[in-house]
Protein backbone atom coordinates (compact mmCIF):
# COMPACT_ATOMS: atom_id res chain seq x y z
CA UNK A 1 0.00 0.00 0.00
CA UNK A 2 1.73 3.16 -1.24
CA UNK A 3 1.45 6.29 0.87
CA UNK A 4 0.11 8.16 -2.17
CA UNK A 5 -2.80 5.73 -2.34
CA UNK A 6 -3.88 5.93 1.30
CA UNK A 7 -6.49 8.64 0.90
CA UNK A 8 -7.17 8.49 -2.85
CA UNK A 9 -8.19 11.33 -5.14
CA UNK A 10 -7.36 12.69 -8.58
CA UNK A 11 -7.07 15.97 -10.45
CA UNK A 12 -6.89 17.02 -14.10
CA UNK A 13 -6.30 20.36 -15.82
CA UNK A 14 -6.71 21.28 -19.49
CA UNK A 15 -6.00 24.17 -21.84
CA UNK A 16 -8.67 25.67 -24.11
CA UNK A 17 -8.99 28.71 -26.34
CA UNK A 18 -8.24 31.62 -23.98
CA UNK A 19 -9.43 29.52 -21.07
CA UNK A 20 -8.29 26.74 -18.74
CA UNK A 21 -10.19 24.19 -16.71
CA UNK A 22 -9.22 22.22 -13.61
CA UNK A 23 -11.20 19.46 -11.96
CA UNK A 24 -10.96 17.06 -9.04
CA UNK A 25 -12.98 14.31 -7.38
CA UNK A 26 -14.35 14.65 -3.85
CA UNK A 27 -13.47 11.40 -2.12
CA UNK A 28 -11.44 11.18 1.06
CA UNK A 29 -10.78 7.62 2.12
CA UNK A 30 -8.73 5.55 4.51
CA UNK A 31 -7.66 2.73 2.23
CA UNK A 32 -10.91 1.01 1.26
CA UNK A 33 -13.11 2.91 3.75
CA UNK A 34 -14.62 6.18 2.48
CA UNK A 35 -14.48 8.83 5.20
CA UNK A 36 -15.80 11.97 3.48
CA UNK A 37 -17.38 12.83 0.13
CA UNK A 38 -16.83 16.57 0.21
CA UNK A 39 -13.02 16.75 0.23
CA UNK A 40 -12.00 19.02 -2.63
CA UNK A 41 -8.36 18.97 -3.63
CA UNK A 42 -8.41 22.17 -5.72
CA UNK A 43 -7.83 25.58 -4.13
CA UNK A 44 -8.06 29.07 -5.63
CA UNK A 45 -4.83 31.08 -5.42
CA UNK A 46 -5.77 34.23 -7.33
CA UNK A 47 -8.99 35.16 -9.15
CA UNK A 48 -7.51 33.50 -12.25
CA UNK A 49 -5.31 30.65 -10.98
CA UNK A 50 -6.03 27.47 -9.07
CA UNK A 51 -3.90 24.63 -7.78
CA UNK A 52 -4.91 21.00 -7.31
CA UNK A 53 -3.12 18.94 -4.65
CA UNK A 54 -4.05 15.25 -4.85
CA UNK A 55 -2.13 12.75 -2.74
CA UNK A 56 -1.87 12.27 1.02
CA UNK A 57 -4.68 14.38 2.49
CA UNK A 58 -2.73 15.74 5.45
CA UNK A 59 -0.06 17.02 3.04
CA UNK A 60 -2.78 18.39 0.70
CA UNK A 61 -3.85 20.69 3.53
CA UNK A 62 -0.33 21.42 4.81
CA UNK A 63 1.01 22.31 1.34
CA UNK A 64 -2.08 24.43 0.67
CA UNK A 65 -1.54 26.33 3.93
CA UNK A 66 2.13 26.93 3.03
CA UNK A 67 1.23 28.06 -0.49
CA UNK A 68 -1.48 30.34 0.81
CA UNK A 69 1.05 31.98 3.14
CA UNK A 70 3.67 32.33 0.41
CA UNK A 71 1.28 33.70 -2.22
CA UNK A 72 -0.23 36.15 0.29
CA UNK A 73 3.28 37.37 1.18
CA UNK A 74 4.11 37.65 -2.55
CA UNK A 75 1.05 39.82 -3.08
CA UNK A 76 1.88 42.03 -0.15
CA UNK A 77 5.52 42.50 -1.18
CA UNK A 78 5.04 42.84 -4.94
CA UNK A 79 1.65 44.54 -4.79
CA UNK A 80 0.34 42.35 -7.60
CA UNK A 81 -1.19 38.92 -8.05
CA UNK A 82 1.17 36.04 -8.72
CA UNK A 83 1.23 34.79 -12.30
CA UNK A 84 0.60 31.08 -12.97
CA UNK A 85 4.16 30.54 -14.27
CA UNK A 86 5.65 32.01 -11.10
CA UNK A 87 3.20 30.02 -8.99
CA UNK A 88 4.39 26.82 -10.65
CA UNK A 89 7.97 27.66 -9.70
CA UNK A 90 6.84 28.57 -6.18
CA UNK A 91 5.15 25.19 -5.83
CA UNK A 92 8.27 23.51 -7.17
CA UNK A 93 10.60 25.18 -4.68
CA UNK A 94 8.20 24.58 -1.78
CA UNK A 95 8.27 20.86 -2.56
CA UNK A 96 12.02 20.62 -3.28
CA UNK A 97 12.78 22.19 0.11
CA UNK A 98 11.63 18.83 1.51
CA UNK A 99 13.65 16.81 -0.99
CA UNK A 100 14.69 14.15 1.56
CA UNK A 101 11.39 14.00 3.44
CA UNK A 102 8.88 15.11 0.81
CA UNK A 103 5.26 16.14 0.94
CA UNK A 104 3.22 13.36 -0.62
CA UNK A 105 1.28 15.46 -3.11
CA UNK A 106 1.61 15.76 -6.90
CA UNK A 107 0.18 19.19 -7.73
CA UNK A 108 -1.48 20.44 -10.90
CA UNK A 109 -1.61 24.18 -11.60
CA UNK A 110 -3.97 25.99 -13.96
CA UNK A 111 -4.50 29.66 -14.66
CA UNK A 112 -4.56 32.60 -17.04
CA UNK A 113 -1.82 35.19 -16.87
CA UNK A 114 -2.46 38.94 -17.03
CA UNK A 115 -2.83 38.95 -20.78
CA UNK A 116 -5.25 36.04 -20.73
CA UNK A 117 -2.81 33.43 -22.05
CA UNK A 118 -3.70 29.98 -20.66
CA UNK A 119 -1.13 28.10 -18.57
CA UNK A 120 -1.10 24.64 -17.00
CA UNK A 121 1.63 22.66 -15.30
CA UNK A 122 2.08 19.75 -12.96
CA UNK A 123 4.89 18.67 -10.67
CA UNK A 124 5.94 15.46 -9.01
CA UNK A 125 6.22 15.18 -5.25
CA UNK A 126 9.70 16.73 -5.22
CA UNK A 127 8.89 19.62 -7.52
CA UNK A 128 9.93 18.61 -11.04
CA UNK A 129 7.73 20.79 -13.28
CA UNK A 130 6.01 19.47 -16.38
CA UNK A 131 5.07 22.40 -18.64
CA UNK A 132 2.41 20.69 -20.71
CA UNK A 133 0.67 22.42 -23.59
CA UNK A 134 -2.48 20.29 -23.60
CA UNK A 135 -3.43 18.66 -20.28
CA UNK A 136 -1.97 17.48 -16.99
CA UNK A 137 -3.20 14.68 -14.74
CA UNK A 138 -2.44 13.54 -11.21
CA UNK A 139 -3.67 11.22 -8.48
CA UNK A 140 -4.70 7.60 -8.07
CA UNK A 141 -6.60 7.64 -11.39
CA UNK A 142 -3.76 9.32 -13.32
CA UNK A 143 -3.28 6.47 -15.81
CA UNK A 144 -6.99 6.40 -16.57
CA UNK A 145 -6.97 10.20 -16.85
CA UNK A 146 -4.13 10.04 -19.35
CA UNK A 147 -6.13 7.63 -21.51
CA UNK A 148 -9.33 9.69 -21.36
CA UNK A 149 -7.60 13.02 -21.90
CA UNK A 150 -5.52 11.77 -24.82
CA UNK A 151 -8.64 10.62 -26.64
CA UNK A 152 -11.00 13.48 -25.78
CA UNK A 153 -8.78 16.55 -25.83
CA UNK A 154 -8.30 18.69 -28.89
CA UNK A 155 -6.78 22.17 -29.20
CA UNK A 156 -8.76 25.44 -29.09
CA UNK A 157 -11.82 24.28 -27.22
CA UNK A 158 -14.20 27.09 -26.18
CA UNK A 159 -15.01 27.36 -22.45
CA UNK A 160 -18.30 25.46 -22.72
CA UNK A 161 -16.73 22.71 -24.84
CA UNK A 162 -13.71 22.55 -22.52
CA UNK A 163 -16.06 22.07 -19.57
CA UNK A 164 -17.73 19.10 -21.29
CA UNK A 165 -14.40 17.60 -22.29
CA UNK A 166 -12.73 17.86 -18.88
CA UNK A 167 -15.90 16.61 -17.15
CA UNK A 168 -16.11 13.48 -19.26
CA UNK A 169 -12.38 12.93 -18.88
CA UNK A 170 -12.60 13.04 -15.08
CA UNK A 171 -15.89 11.20 -14.62
CA UNK A 172 -15.03 8.21 -16.77
CA UNK A 173 -11.50 7.93 -15.41
CA UNK A 174 -12.55 7.95 -11.73
CA UNK A 175 -15.30 5.41 -12.43
CA UNK A 176 -12.55 2.91 -13.15
CA UNK A 177 -10.61 3.81 -10.01
CA UNK A 178 -11.70 2.46 -6.64
CA UNK A 179 -9.95 5.23 -4.68
CA UNK A 180 -11.35 8.23 -6.57
CA UNK A 181 -14.86 9.43 -7.20
CA UNK A 182 -17.87 10.20 -4.98
CA UNK A 183 -18.55 13.44 -6.83
CA UNK A 184 -16.48 15.97 -8.72
CA UNK A 185 -16.05 19.72 -9.12
CA UNK A 186 -14.88 21.53 -12.26
CA UNK A 187 -13.55 25.09 -12.37
CA UNK A 188 -13.40 26.88 -15.76
CA UNK A 189 -11.32 30.06 -15.89
CA UNK A 190 -11.75 32.62 -18.64
CA UNK A 191 -10.99 36.31 -19.01
CA UNK A 192 -13.82 38.73 -18.38
CA UNK A 193 -12.27 41.96 -19.69
CA UNK A 194 -9.10 42.13 -17.60
CA UNK A 195 -10.42 40.12 -14.66
CA UNK A 196 -10.42 36.37 -14.36
CA UNK A 197 -13.87 34.81 -14.28
CA UNK A 198 -14.13 31.42 -12.62
CA UNK A 199 -17.19 29.20 -13.09
CA UNK A 200 -17.41 26.40 -10.53
CA UNK A 201 -19.70 23.47 -11.23
CA UNK A 202 -20.49 20.28 -9.30
CA UNK A 203 -20.74 17.16 -11.44
CA UNK A 204 -23.30 14.43 -10.98
CA UNK A 205 -21.28 11.23 -11.03
CA UNK A 206 -21.45 7.66 -9.80
CA UNK A 207 -21.63 7.71 -6.01
CA UNK A 208 -19.71 4.56 -5.34
Amino acid sequence: MSIMELNGGSCVAMVGKNCVAIACDLRLGNQALTVATNFSKVFPVTPSTLVGLPGLATDTMTVWEKLRFRTNMYEMKENRKISPQTLAHLVSSTLYEKRFGPYFVEPVIAGLDNSGVPFIASTDLIGCINFAKDFVVSGTASEKLFGMAESLWEPDLAPEELFETISQTLLNAVDRDAFSGWGAIVWVVEMDGSEGKVTKRWLRGRMD
Binding site: A36, T58, M61, T62
Partner: protein
Protein backbone atom coordinates in the same frame (compact mmCIF):
# COMPACT_ATOMS: atom_id res chain seq x y z
CA UNK B 1 -10.62 -2.19 19.22
CA UNK B 2 -11.59 1.27 20.42
CA UNK B 3 -14.64 2.84 18.89
CA UNK B 4 -15.91 6.39 18.75
CA UNK B 5 -18.93 7.88 17.00
CA UNK B 6 -19.98 11.42 16.16
CA UNK B 7 -23.41 12.46 14.89
CA UNK B 8 -24.61 15.98 14.04
CA UNK B 9 -28.21 17.12 13.93
CA UNK B 10 -30.21 20.29 13.70
CA UNK B 11 -28.66 22.00 16.73
CA UNK B 12 -26.43 19.47 18.48
CA UNK B 13 -23.48 17.14 18.11
CA UNK B 14 -23.46 13.73 19.82
CA UNK B 15 -20.20 12.04 20.77
CA UNK B 16 -20.07 8.40 21.87
CA UNK B 17 -16.97 6.45 22.90
CA UNK B 18 -16.56 2.99 24.32
CA UNK B 19 -15.39 2.80 27.92
CA UNK B 20 -13.09 -0.23 27.97
CA UNK B 21 -9.43 0.09 28.88
CA UNK B 22 -7.79 -3.02 27.48
CA UNK B 23 -4.25 -4.45 27.51
CA UNK B 24 -3.65 -7.66 25.58
CA UNK B 25 -6.37 -10.08 26.74
CA UNK B 26 -7.30 -8.21 29.90
CA UNK B 27 -9.99 -5.53 30.37
CA UNK B 28 -8.48 -3.37 33.10
CA UNK B 29 -11.28 -0.86 33.39
CA UNK B 30 -14.81 -0.49 32.05
CA UNK B 31 -15.56 3.11 32.95
CA UNK B 32 -12.77 4.92 31.09
CA UNK B 33 -13.79 8.33 29.73
CA UNK B 34 -12.28 8.69 26.25
CA UNK B 35 -13.54 12.21 25.66
CA UNK B 36 -12.44 15.64 26.77
CA UNK B 37 -14.50 18.80 27.02
CA UNK B 38 -12.10 21.24 25.43
CA UNK B 39 -14.40 24.24 25.44
CA UNK B 40 -17.77 25.36 26.71
CA UNK B 41 -19.43 23.87 23.64
CA UNK B 42 -16.56 21.72 22.31
CA UNK B 43 -15.90 18.00 22.74
CA UNK B 44 -13.03 15.82 21.55
CA UNK B 45 -13.30 12.02 21.46
CA UNK B 46 -9.88 10.36 21.20
CA UNK B 47 -8.61 6.87 20.41
CA UNK B 48 -5.25 5.29 19.63
CA UNK B 49 -1.98 4.52 21.41
CA UNK B 50 -2.56 4.50 25.19
CA UNK B 51 -0.60 7.31 26.80
CA UNK B 52 -0.29 9.30 23.58
CA UNK B 53 -4.07 9.76 23.66
CA UNK B 54 -4.37 11.36 27.07
CA UNK B 55 -1.14 13.37 26.66
CA UNK B 56 -2.30 14.84 23.36
CA UNK B 57 -5.87 15.38 24.51
CA UNK B 58 -4.73 17.27 27.61
CA UNK B 59 -2.28 19.27 25.49
CA UNK B 60 -5.15 20.35 23.23
CA UNK B 61 -7.45 21.08 26.18
CA UNK B 62 -4.88 23.26 27.89
CA UNK B 63 -4.00 25.18 24.75
CA UNK B 64 -7.68 25.86 24.09
CA UNK B 65 -7.96 27.19 27.62
CA UNK B 66 -4.82 29.31 27.19
CA UNK B 67 -6.24 30.88 24.05
CA UNK B 68 -9.46 31.70 25.87
CA UNK B 69 -7.55 33.24 28.78
CA UNK B 70 -5.33 35.34 26.53
CA UNK B 71 -8.03 36.48 24.14
CA UNK B 72 -11.15 36.54 26.34
CA UNK B 73 -13.01 34.43 23.82
CA UNK B 74 -13.04 30.72 23.13
CA UNK B 75 -12.00 29.21 19.81
CA UNK B 76 -14.80 28.13 17.48
CA UNK B 77 -15.01 24.45 16.46
CA UNK B 78 -13.50 25.09 13.00
CA UNK B 79 -10.55 27.02 14.40
CA UNK B 80 -9.97 24.51 17.20
CA UNK B 81 -9.99 21.70 14.65
CA UNK B 82 -7.57 23.54 12.33
CA UNK B 83 -5.13 24.15 15.18
CA UNK B 84 -5.37 20.54 16.31
CA UNK B 85 -4.83 19.33 12.75
CA UNK B 86 -1.73 21.50 12.45
CA UNK B 87 -0.34 20.03 15.69
CA UNK B 88 -0.92 16.50 14.39
CA UNK B 89 0.67 17.40 11.04
CA UNK B 90 3.73 18.72 12.93
CA UNK B 91 3.79 15.58 15.08
CA UNK B 92 3.73 13.04 12.24
CA UNK B 93 7.07 14.19 10.86
CA UNK B 94 8.71 14.54 14.27
CA UNK B 95 10.97 12.04 16.00
CA UNK B 96 8.16 10.53 18.05
CA UNK B 97 4.69 11.11 16.55
CA UNK B 98 1.45 11.06 18.53
CA UNK B 99 -0.59 8.08 17.40
CA UNK B 100 -4.02 9.55 18.18
CA UNK B 101 -7.23 9.67 16.14
CA UNK B 102 -9.86 12.23 17.02
CA UNK B 103 -13.44 13.24 16.54
CA UNK B 104 -13.62 16.92 17.34
CA UNK B 105 -16.65 19.11 17.25
CA UNK B 106 -19.37 21.03 18.94
CA UNK B 107 -21.67 23.98 18.73
CA UNK B 108 -20.49 27.24 17.17
CA UNK B 109 -22.28 30.08 19.00
CA UNK B 110 -21.17 32.66 16.44
CA UNK B 111 -22.99 30.99 13.54
CA UNK B 112 -25.42 28.80 15.53
CA UNK B 113 -24.43 25.66 13.69
CA UNK B 114 -23.14 22.26 14.79
CA UNK B 115 -19.74 21.11 13.49
CA UNK B 116 -18.01 17.74 13.44
CA UNK B 117 -14.47 16.98 12.27
CA UNK B 118 -12.78 13.63 11.67
CA UNK B 119 -9.04 13.84 12.32
CA UNK B 120 -6.45 11.10 12.19
CA UNK B 121 -2.89 10.77 13.47
CA UNK B 122 -1.42 11.95 10.14
CA UNK B 123 -3.17 15.29 10.38
CA UNK B 124 -5.95 14.45 7.94
CA UNK B 125 -9.07 16.49 8.60
CA UNK B 126 -12.54 16.05 7.11
CA UNK B 127 -15.74 17.98 7.82
CA UNK B 128 -18.48 15.41 8.14
CA UNK B 129 -22.15 15.12 9.16
CA UNK B 130 -21.36 11.89 11.04
CA UNK B 131 -18.23 9.87 11.64
CA UNK B 132 -16.62 6.93 13.37
CA UNK B 133 -13.10 5.79 14.27
CA UNK B 134 -11.82 2.27 14.71
CA UNK B 135 -13.23 -1.06 13.60
CA UNK B 136 -16.64 0.23 14.60
CA UNK B 137 -16.58 2.47 11.53
CA UNK B 138 -16.76 -0.53 9.22
CA UNK B 139 -19.95 -1.68 10.90
CA UNK B 140 -21.78 1.55 11.59
CA UNK B 141 -21.08 4.04 8.78
CA UNK B 142 -23.53 2.31 6.45
CA UNK B 143 -26.24 2.49 9.10
CA UNK B 144 -25.50 6.18 9.52
CA UNK B 145 -25.56 6.70 5.73
CA UNK B 146 -29.03 5.17 5.64
CA UNK B 147 -30.73 6.71 8.69
CA UNK B 148 -28.96 10.01 9.35
CA UNK B 149 -31.13 13.11 9.19
CA UNK B 150 -29.09 16.32 9.07
CA UNK B 151 -32.05 18.26 10.47
CA UNK B 152 -32.88 15.62 13.04
CA UNK B 153 -33.85 16.22 16.63
CA UNK B 154 -31.69 15.06 19.52
CA UNK B 155 -33.97 12.03 20.01
CA UNK B 156 -33.49 11.03 16.37
CA UNK B 157 -29.72 11.40 16.74
CA UNK B 158 -29.67 9.25 19.87
CA UNK B 159 -31.85 6.67 18.11
CA UNK B 160 -29.33 6.51 15.28
CA UNK B 161 -26.56 6.06 17.83
CA UNK B 162 -28.50 3.20 19.45
CA UNK B 163 -28.82 1.54 16.03
CA UNK B 164 -25.06 1.80 15.51
CA UNK B 165 -24.21 0.41 18.94
CA UNK B 166 -26.71 -2.38 18.36
CA UNK B 167 -24.97 -3.25 15.11
CA UNK B 168 -21.69 -3.61 16.98
CA UNK B 169 -23.27 -5.71 19.70
CA UNK B 170 -24.69 -8.03 17.07
CA UNK B 171 -21.80 -8.31 14.64
CA UNK B 172 -18.54 -7.26 16.32
CA UNK B 173 -16.66 -10.04 18.09
CA UNK B 174 -15.42 -7.81 20.90
CA UNK B 175 -17.94 -6.87 23.57
CA UNK B 176 -17.33 -3.16 24.10
CA UNK B 177 -19.63 -2.72 27.06
CA UNK B 178 -21.16 0.62 27.87
CA UNK B 179 -20.67 3.79 25.83
CA UNK B 180 -20.00 7.23 27.26
CA UNK B 181 -22.23 9.72 25.42
CA UNK B 182 -21.92 13.51 25.41
CA UNK B 183 -24.04 16.10 23.67
CA UNK B 184 -22.73 19.55 22.70
CA UNK B 185 -25.31 22.20 21.95
CA UNK B 186 -26.07 25.84 22.59
CA UNK B 187 -26.37 25.20 26.32
CA UNK B 188 -22.93 23.62 26.59
CA UNK B 189 -21.78 20.02 26.96
CA UNK B 190 -23.61 17.40 29.00
CA UNK B 191 -23.39 13.66 29.53
CA UNK B 192 -26.51 11.74 28.52
CA UNK B 193 -27.69 8.25 29.36
CA UNK B 194 -28.61 6.27 26.26
Amino acid sequence: MEVSFGITGKDYVIFASDTSSVRSIVRMKSDEDKQKEIGKHLVMAYSGEPGDTVQFAEYVERNMRLYAIRNHIALRPSSAASWTRAELAKSIRSRNPYSVNLLLGGWDPTSNTPHLYWLDYLGTMATVPFAAHGYGAYFSLSTMDRYHNPEGTLEEGLDLLRKCINELETRFIVNLGKFKVRVADKDGVRVVEL
